[in-house]
């Protein structure tokens, strides 16, 4: 038996490898550097590896290859766009994470113990969060490029496992944060078991674990259709869980509320891009010819998701829970792009993901700033009159909410318009009608928050907006500018996406 050495195209894998190398350097810093210098060196390594990875990605953006890693990774235009969006969102989120006020000093200490008090007094910092972020980013970069089921499964776990831990790192309300981590972990592990079972049945159906092999079997039509249906159903459960689509959304409000806000922003934005990247690839490449097997179910899930997210968000009293339900509704809108199953659907989804991710990071960045003496204030009633106290921050938050609602002159409008027109072109009128109606419902609760902030009198209970650190200011400013520019003059990005949004088989 001959051993053939694997052929790897390192230039195309460079973005992922650089991020992983940065994560390993971070682990070494954690082990060997003195405690005082860790925070700055970790931050430097994290930002540097993300920026270098982005530049490495831009250098190879024109290349296309199915054999970057022995057929396990497909490098194409859409993959570049997903990776670039994830890296940009990750850089902006790391700026928020760098504001360590939100993180517990010693995650292993029991809440309320002497150990915890000591760690707070000596001003210890939880620098482990940086390598964990980088590991999660590496998994996210791999997820939308995977073109076989092993890589897809490994990437799914690689992005999930660090996020489970990061959800439990909050400095205040630590029991809530630990509970969020537990829920996220148990439900996440549950859904990945479903995912793996789906992998097994797809392999049983086609005898192959590559997307192209599965597609060839579907076209050939010789396999057992029961296996195919079970495989698509179980794999979809795993993927839809990650994006928080109804009925697999139960974790997201709790985890969004319990996790440290900076982590919530990162998770909400970057995970969504990565998971939708993978969903788009697997449905557009592997399952495209079996569309009658999955399309009706996905249309139903999409409609239920958008309506449920928008309706339940109305009754929320907590700003992080409200944003969680709004992200559920957005998952429904994004599924419309998957259902469209056309090039315009793909382009619209990529634009929507980028615009939504950027606005999400900005919105959660602002949530980190509204505090009282006990930490962040997330109760919406106590946000009333915020616009009179700090007009600039409140206006920025209102602007992000308008972007989520899809009001013209924001990136959200362009995203919603293009994704709904793609769904309409593909003939899914039901999705279009449900989408427009639930957008109207969603606009109601976004605008209610704006009214609360600007037209109600402030309550005197110590709620205030802290002066943001330089990095947080950068994130909020950059995300606001991108959201505005994409709303007013989106043509360059749309043209760029149109020129390179394609999947190769």
């Amino acid at each position: 038996m001959n051993f053939t050495a694997p052929v790897l195209n390192y230039a195309l894998l460079a973005p992922m490898l650089i991020v992983l190398a940065g994560a390993l350097v971070g682990v070494l810093i954690e082990a060997f550097a003195p405690r005082a210098s860790r925070h700055n060196s970790q931050l430097f390594v994290t930002i540097a590896s993300l920026v270098i990875a982005l530049s490495a990605l831009l250098r190879v953006r024109k290349q296309v290859s199915v054999s970057a890693a022995m057929g396990s990774i497909t490098f194409d235009g859409a993959g570049v766009l997903f990776q670039a969006s994830i890296l940009v969102i990750a850089i902006l989120s790391v700026f928020l994470i760098a504001d360590q006020e939100n993180f517990t000093a010693l995650p292993a200490a029991v809440p309320g113990s002497d150990e915890e008090r000591h760690s707070l007094q000596t001003d210890m910092r939880v620098t482990e969060v940086y390598p964990l972020t980088l590991f999660a980013v590496a998994g996210m970069l791999l997820f939308p490029l995977s073109s076989d089921l092993i890589t897809l499964f490994v990437a799914l776990e690689m992005l999930s496992l660090p996020l489970y831990l990061m959800a439990g790192l909050s400095r205040r309300r630590r029991l809530l944060s630990q509970e969020a981590a537990l829920k996220y972990f148990l439900l996440g592990a549950f859904s990945s078991a479903f995912f793996l079972f789906g992998v097994a049945y797809l392999y049983g159906y086609s005898g192959s674990i590559t997307f192209s092999g599965i597609q060839a079997s579907i076209v050939g039509g010789s396999g057992n259709d029961v296996f195919l249906l079970l495989g698509i159903a179980f794999i979809s459960v795993g993927l839809l869980f990650k994006v928080g689509a109804v009925p697999f959304h139960a974790w997201s409000p709790d985890v969004y509320q319990g996790a440290p806000t900076a982590i919530t922003g990162f998770m909400a934005a970057a995970t969504k891009v990565a998971a939708f990247g993978a969903i788009l690839r697997i449905f557009y490449v592997a399952f495209a010819n079996a569309e009658w097997q999955w399309k009706p179910a996905l249309i139903l899930i999409s409609i239920v998701t958008m309506v449920f997210g928008s309706v339940v968000a109305i009754s929320q009293r907590d700003v992080k829970r409200m944003l969680a339900y709004s992200s559920i509704a957005h998952a429904g809108f994004l599924l419309a792009g998957v259902i469209a199953l056309s090039k315009s659907g793909l382009e619209a989804s990529i634009f929507y993901l980028f615009a939504y991710g950027i606005a999400t990071v900005g919105a959660f960045g602002i949530v980190t700033l509204v505090r009282d003496s006990a930490g962040e204030v997330t109760d919406l009633n106590r946000w009333s009159g915020l616009g009179k106290r700090s007009p600039l921050i409140a206006s920025a938050f209102a602007f992000f909410l308008l972007a989520f609602a899809g009001i013209p002159l924001t990136s959200g409008f362009i995203g919603k318009f293009s994704i709904f027109s793609a769904a309409y072109e593909s003939g899914s009128t039901a999705v279009l009608i449900a989408g427009v109606l639930s957008s109207a419902i969603a606009a109601f609760f976004y605008i209610r928050v704006i009214v609360l902030m600007f037209f109600k009198d402030p309550v005197e209970d110590g709620t205030s907006v802290v002066i943001p650190s330089g990095l947080t200011t950068t994130t909020i400013a950059v995300t606001s500018v991108i959201t505005l520019v994409l709303g007013i003059y989106p043509a360059p990005l749309i043209n760029f996406i149109a020129s390179s949004a394609f999947f190769i088989r």
């Binding site: 029991v110 089921l149 509970e179 981590a181 537990l182 148990l186 078991a193 097994a200 049983g204």
Partner: protein, 99 residues
């Protein structure tokens, strides 16, 4: 022996695991049920590798074992932290977020 019988066994194990996750209240037991589901998936993979006559399914099963081991590390860390702060690993006690 008919290899399809192993698919039925795997399906049964998967169902037991899934039902266990839903009805059991102790986080450790829930987690063990998840592991049972992963092993059911492994058995399915190996059976299909036998039926299809290719090795890919067995390779996936190896990857699954490694990933399951990583999941144990992370999962037990989270469960132990919860247990230390609350003196209970019941998932019903962890309900502060359900308001």
């Amino acid at each position: 022996m008919n290899p399809y019988n192993y698919l039925y066994v795997a399906g049964l194990l998967f169902t037991i695991g899934a039902v266990g996750v839903v009805v059991r209240r102790n986080a450790i037991v829930v987690f063990m049920c998840v592991e049972l589901m992963l092993n059911a998936a492994n058995l399915t993979l190996v059976t299909f590798a036998r039926i299809n006559g290719t090795l890919d399914g067995q390779v996936v099963a190896f990857f699954t074992m490694v990933v399951a081991a990583c999941e144990v590390v992370v999962g037990l860390a989270i469960i132990v932290t919860i247990y230390r702060s609350r003196r209970s690993a019941s998932i019903d006690d962890a309900s502060l977020l359900k308001r």
